[in-house]
């Protein structure tokens, strides 16, 4: 294999497709930490020129981790529609980019092609796209899903009500849920990250959130984001589980670090279909994020963008209701600053949509990253313009349990107003029936948690 180009009179040669892929990436501190990033901007551009000529077939034949060694690779390769793949395998990555952006290429056409792709193809074309390319292409692809309500419809933007509490206090969580609902947050899910992963505590929070949903007849679903095995046990014991959650990573070894496998997720998915109290047919919720494979030393010298695309390939197997990257959570050693976090957020959303999953984003940052709340507001606007399905809703963006900052309840309302979007239709009707929303706008009653003290 010869992979070489000249650029400004200098010659750049690459030893493998893996090396081309890594060096073609936008600058990410995590790729530098892994020692696989381009050594100069010119070398990065040389890698992109070479990558633009690589065919999709070559990418299929060079997965990040060999088929024999890795079940994530097997899941993705085995799910490829061979007929569609054969139509496109001769495309170069450069041609693929132009096809995605072409005015004659519709979202439905992209969704069909999606079934002939592997994660490495999805990642490769992402590397050749500018930020606005990523937005324009993603905007075409509407991926909807249904559980108790519908997410991802044209003209809508949903919000996960994330009412975390430093000690899992049911009263504190309930109060925060009320605050979020009063701003119109909660159509994606009422989803709690628990401090205490124990079965009793998880079941208590499932019961509590289910009671609120029943009492107020809210068209939504609940979820407690404990380890999947805890949620499975809760289902066995009859707890009201709305969505089944798990964090996933891009290789078998990295998933082992999370304590999960394909077989375990298969079982969880089967149980969700059997035991979830919600309507379905989409029951699963996954979170992801660039850098997780490297942090588990399970990245196989592959760049973090490609490892991220592989998670989406795995997630698709479970027909999820929602998937989101937690894009700035991992820290500056993987995504250094607002530029890198913004880029990764746009990349992940696009890659999820191209893979065919209902993608949202936890646009966020930690205090040791070079970013501020303004940067996260910017990213949220860009992603909303790109058709992102949902964001997190947290009181003033300050998560008092996870100690990071993300989008707020106010942001949910502001993004809808700014870009002319509505909540999920079932949820909007519910808001209207309570008098909290009128013609897509919050009423004077909205933004007041004590509104929900009316029903005892």
């Amino acid at each position: 294999m010869l992979l070489r180009t000249k650029l400004f009179g200098s010659t750049y040669q690459f030893g493998s497709i893996k090396e081309v892929m890594a060096k073609a990436n936008e600058e990410k501190s995590g790729d530098r930490l892994a020692g696989i990033a381009a050594n100069s901007v010119a070398e990065r551009m040389a890698a992109r020129y070479v990558l633009a000529e690589v065919t999709l077939e070559t990418l299929r034949n060079n997965p990040a981790v060999p088929y024999e060694e890795d079940e994530v690779t097997r899941v993705i390769q085995d799910s490829v529609n061979e007929t569609i793949y054969n139509e496109i395998k001769h495309w170069t990555v450069g041609q693929f980019r132009e096809w995605l952006l072409d005015d004659n290429t519709t979202g439905d056409m992209i969704k069909r092609i999606s079934n002939g792709l592997t994660a490495e193809m999805v990642a490769a074309v992402t590397k050749l796209m500018s930020n606005m390319d990523l937005m324009v292409a993603a905007r075409k692809i509407r991926i909807t899903a249904h559980c108790n309500n519908t997410i991802g419809l044209e003209g809508t933007l949903a919000s996960r009500n994330q009412p975390n509490h430093p000690t899992d206090s049911p009263e504190g969580i309930r109060a925060t849920i009320y605050e979020g609902l009063s701003f119109g947050s909660g159509d994606s899910v009422i989803g709690i990250n628990p401090v205490d992963d124990s079965l009793a505590s998880v079941m208590r929070l499932l019961d509590m959130t289910y009671d609120i949903i029943q009492k107020w007849e809210i068209p939504t679903q609940n979820c407690v984001l404990a380890h999947v095995t805890t949620q499975m046990e809760a289902m066995r014991r009859g707890a009201p589980v709305g969505l089944v959650f798990q964090s996933l990573a891009g290789s078998q070894k990295a998933n082992e670090a999370f304590g999960v496998s394909v077989a375990m997720m298969d079982e969880a998915y089967d149980m969700a279909k059997k035991y979830c109290w919600t309507a379905g047919p989409n029951y699963m919720y996954f979170e992801t994020g660039q850098g997780t494979a490297l942090s588990a030393d399970a990245h196989y010298n592959t760049d973090q963008l490609t490892m991220e695309a592989r998670i989406y390939g795995m997630a698709k197997r479970y027909k999820p209701f929602q998937v989101n990257t937690v894009v700035g959570f991992i820290g500056p050693e993987y995504l250094y600053d607002a530029v890198q976090i913004t880029r990764a957020g746009l990349e992940d959303h696009f890659m999820g949509k191209l893979t065919g999953i209902p993608m949202g984003c936890d646009a966020c940052y930690t205090n040791h990253a070079k970013a501020t709340q303004n940067d996260i507001e910017n990213l949220a606007v860009l992603l909303t313009a790109a058709g992102c399905n949902y964001f997190m809703g947290v009181p003033m963006g300050d998560d008092v349990m996870l100690s990071y900052q993300c989008t707020s309840y106010h942001d949910t309302a502001a993004l809808r107003q700014l870009l002319g979007l509505r909540p999920s239709p079932e949820f909007e009707k519910w808001m209207e029936s309570l008098g909290l929303m009128e013609n897509g706008k919050l009423t004077d009653k909205a933004g007041d948690a004590s509104f929900f003290l009316q029903r005892k």
């Binding site: 205090n367 003033m396 509104f451």
Partner: protein, 301 residues
Amino acid sequence: MEQGKMDIEAIVQAVLNELSKKNSGQAATPQVTTQTNGDLVIDLPDPTLPEYRRAPGVKNPYDPEGLRNLMATTTARIGVGRAGPRPRTSTLLLFQSDHGVTQDAIYGEVDQAVLDKFDLFTVQTQVQDRNQYLTRPDLGRRLSEEAKRTIAERCVKKPQVQIVVGDGLSAAAINNNLPIIYPIIVQGLKSANISLGTPFFIKFARVGVINDVNDIIGADVVVILIGERPGLGIADALSAYMGWRPTAGKTDAERDVVCMITVHGGTNPLEGGAYVVEMIKKTLQYQASGVELKLKTSGQG
């Protein structure tokens, strides 16, 4: 040994009593802005005080008393109201202030006077600057060659306990807490006749650097007092990590930690110092730390 423990407990109790008196004596100062003789006078109280921080912001709430009760159940920023779809001015400024102090803490410098007070000399890890510190945790776990030489020259070898101080992710954690916690730890260990090594400060340190330190020192226990990643509004939390005979390859699983040491809503540094002393004694007694210590103390080791 018992006598030393009693002393620490007495000191801690006395100081805690003092602190609680101060807090209960704080009165709200509602006066915000006045004009006299055409002169503009803006003389504001501290908006980060609890009475302002926790003030409800909803205009015409359905149930004002109920709203207060809801707000009392969580530290989350609820009940803040809105200006259209955006936060109210005071809510926004408070959030930005809380984030601002975290940035000042991360990019701040440890005060040399604080280090001088305890005769701490300074060495550096392999990290060159703050940006590299943030992106290369691996280098923050390794001492520079110069640091190794300096430590080898200046430090007592094979003490029972070696104390080191690291800046970590918050200079404010060191500046605010070290003057309180450090004497408590030293006094507590000395009164128990535990021998101490030569203390020093490590710039650009991660916790794992104690492995490198102890490959030179050979102490039974190494303690590092290090600044934590700042949380919103709590920018000066200190952690004390300690391990039994740290050496290359040892991880957090083989360490114990007392975390969130701060007067701003965490473990008071006086109390924290006492915990650290107790933890060190236990480590010496069981000759183990981390998961192994837990197993041994629960009788499963």
